[in-house]
């Protein structure tokens, strides 16, 4: 059973709501970064919402995902709480990682979300490992790795897919081809046209789908998930999509112009899906407006929540290194504290 069914009205409305939530979360995060309220790097997912939401709607809540440095969308699609996500962006103790992760590393293992990742291509081996646990323990869970077009060039991605293919693991590898790895176009990084073609070399199914169409992504992932659960091994899916914003916030984007972006905006995944729902009577224009303002209010509340949340105490920097703690950290830390150089 998938977590959100695109087959019924409530499911379709929830899919739309999650896409709207991602866009609102990320445009707000962009503004907050520009205002200097959020430190570090922020990579926004705007334009790619159909991929995360289409995919996660096809997964069960028990299924695992791994994510990328552009992870906010994957988190929201997996059902994470925007309050605690925003708190993590603000470095608050109440954030998903108690302020130790930030934008690039949000994780919620309880929700089977195994982490956004600052290392390009690092997620697929982790997903292979999660799929291995599922197979090993005789569970029905599937692990889906989101990865970028740039990541496809990484050696460890190949190893992860090969391993999953060899062992028929219940894994899905979902390439988000947003056409750039930082500033270099995807076609300058790969010598094949469709990145799903590499599936052939693992003797697993590979598809390229329209990543601006949430239904297409949802169907492809649902099929891949069924295959995985039936013990037929992994699938490689490429979703053709686009990011409207720069690689990171502050990117001057010399590698493209506004016209290129506009062409994709004309096929916006949220607008087209909303129109479709209105056409089929799932939703009225008024209800759509209402949904937009609800989502806006939800994200505004998340910002307030994050602003009000406590920062961690400096001494918390020494927590959580090990399950069975070592004497070293406590000793080194207490020396710092005695000096007045850190800690309490």
């Amino acid at each position: 059973m998938s977590s959100i069914s695109i087959e019924d009205t409530d499911g379709r409305r929830e899919i739309l709501r999650r896409m709207l939530t991602i866009r609102e979360f990320d445009s707000t995060a962009g503004d907050l970064f520009a205002d200097g309220e959020i430190p570090g790097f922020v990579h926004l997912y705007i334009g790619e919402e159909a991929v995360a939401v289409g995919a996660c709607a096809a997964l069960d809540e028990e299924d695992y995902i791994t994510s990328t440095h552009r992870g906010h969308g994957h988190c929201i699609a997996k059902g994470l709480d925007p309050n605690r996500m925003m708190a993590e962006l603000f470095g608050r103790r109440d954030g998903y990682c108690n302020g130790k992760g930030g934008s690039m590393h949000i994780a919620d293992v309880e929700a089977n979300m195994l982490g956004a990742n600052g290392i390009v291509g690092a997620g697929p081996p982790l997903a292979t490992g999660a799929a291995l646990t599922s197979q090993f323990k005789g569970e029905d869970r599937v692990a889906l790795a989101f990865l970028g077009d740039g990541a496809v060039a990484q050696g460890q991605v190949h190893e992860a897919i090969n391993l999953a293919a060899t062992w028929d693991l219940p894994a899905v590898f979902l390439v988000e081809n947003n056409h750039f790895g930082e500033g270099t176009p995807a076609d300058e990084q790969h010598n094949i046209e469709n990145l799903s073609e590499t599936a052939e070399s693992y003797n697993i199914p590979g598809f390229t789908v329209d990543g601006m169409d949430v239904t297409a992504v949802n169907e492809a992932v649902a099929e891949a998930r069924d295959r995985a659960r039936n013990g037929e091994g992994p699938t490689l899916i490429e979703a053709d999509t686009y990011r409207y914003r720069g690689h990171f916030e502050g990117d001057p984007e010399p590698y493209r112009d506004e016209e290129d972006v506009q062409q994709w905006r004309d096929r916006d995944p949220i607008d087209t899906f909303a129109e479709r729902l209105i056409d089929r009577g799932d939703l009225t224009e008024e209800e759509l407006d209402e949904m937009r303002s609800e989502v806006q209010a939800e994200i505004e509340a998340a910002v307030e929540y994050a602003r009000d949340a406590d920062l961690p105490e400096p001494s918390e920097a020494y927590d959580d290194m090990f399950g069975e703690p070592v004497p070293e950290i406590e000793q080194f830390a207490s020396r710092l504290r005695a000096d007045g150089a850190g800690g309490e």
Binding site: C97, K100, A107, S134, E159, G323
Partner: protein
């Protein structure tokens, strides 16, 4: 800190080689906990390139003793993902020289996930790997990179020097919810000794063991050099009284046992088969200087690899791989 295992009866023992002790630890932990599985290159039917996992495939089958593709980044990474989701993988990396191939998964995923996720995840993965020169395997199959892992925050590293230590520490590593690197010196596999038979027997990670008491000088040794230092101590008996400590655990490091010893002897030789600069030697010596400066009666000495790789040709290899003679020379410098 106690130097004797306390967790189970150690009265009944059997004579095992290091190889058999490691195999026994794997077998017992797999029998005891069905979440434990072993994976690596040729660990299954083939029994491991140095025979360590021999027989486990027959007993536990291919699901729990998994042959992997030759793909260190992939299967070490899969070990991380499996550990993060409730399995207890023991990953064999055939030669420690290949650990760099999996470097990203070790440095950025395995070691950081727990911390970076705010402590909300366990990482019960054990990495077993072989180290050391002495068999003409040349530079790419003889290295001792254990310092890298002991140095890297978020990882634990152990280097047993006896069969009993090998069994007890490996069992603890597998039971630990933290990532533990277990470094096996390949010249020790045939070394035998008494090993407790109780399946509850483990040794705490982070404790050194006084293997022989002495009054004049402390030799802190690891792996193969523990046995060689004990031989040297025997030879010198009546002339110089040598205390020999098996360091066992590189991180965490048992400062207390070392400090107790140096308070008694005032002198120390650190013998570890790894490059001499910036290594285990340096860490032990630093802690003695920090903690026990006023107990020191002589300059501290280190025995190790003179910052070279391990060459192929026997006279060259013999030149750089440290042994008991080097320990004896170092002792003679300070007593």
């Amino acid at each position: 800190m106690s130097t004797k295992p306390e967790t189970a009866s150690t009265d009944r023992t059997e004579t095992l080689t290091v190889r058999e002790a490691i195999r026994a630890a794997l077998r017992e932990e797999m029998e005891q906990d069905e979440d434990v599985f072993v994976m690596g290159e040729d660990v299954g039917k083939f029994g491991g390139v140095l025979d360590v996992t021999d027989g486990l495939f027959e007993q536990f089958g291919g699901e729990r003793v998994r042959d992997t593709p030759i793909s260190e980044a992939g299967f070490v990474g899969a070990g991380v993902g499996a550990a993060a989701t409730g399995s207890r993988p023991v990953v064999e990396v055939m030669f420690s020289d290949f650990l760099g191939v999996a470097g990203e998964q070790i440095m950025n995923q395995m070691s950081k996930m727990r911390y970076m996720f705010g402590g909300k995840i366990e990482m019960p993965v054990t990495v077993r790997t072989t180290e050391g020169g002495g068999m003409g395997a040349a530079s790419q199959h003889s290295g001792t990179p254990h310092t890298w892992f002991a140095h890297f925050p978020g990882l634990k590293a152990v280097t047993p020097g006896t069969p009993a230590a090998a069994k007890g520490l490996l069992k603890s590593a597998i039971r630990s919810n933290d990532p533990v690197f277990f470094f096996e010196n390949k010249m020790m596999y045939e070394q035998s000794g008494e090993v407790p038979t109780d399946p509850g027997y483990t040794l705490p990670i982070g404790e050194a063991s006084v293997e022989r008491e002495g009054e004049d000088v402390t030799v802190v040794a690891t792996q193969r050099l523990v046995g060689e230092s004990l031989d040297v101590a025997d030879d010198l008996a009546g002339e110089t009284s040598v205390e020999v400590i098996d360091l066992r655990s590189l991180y965490p490091l048992d400062t207390d046992t070392l400090a107790d010893s140096i308070r008694k002897t005032g002198r120390m030789v650190v013998a570890d088969e790894s490059p001499l600069s910036y290594g285990v030697h340096a860490e032990v010596i630093t802690r003695m200087v920090e903690n026990e400066f006023f107990s020191l009666d002589a300059p501290l000495q280190r025995v190790g690899v003179p910052d070279t790789h391990i060459p192929f040709s026997t006279p060259l290899e013999d030149e750089v791989v440290p042994d008991g003679d080097d320990v004896r020379d170092a002792i003679s410098q300070v007593v």
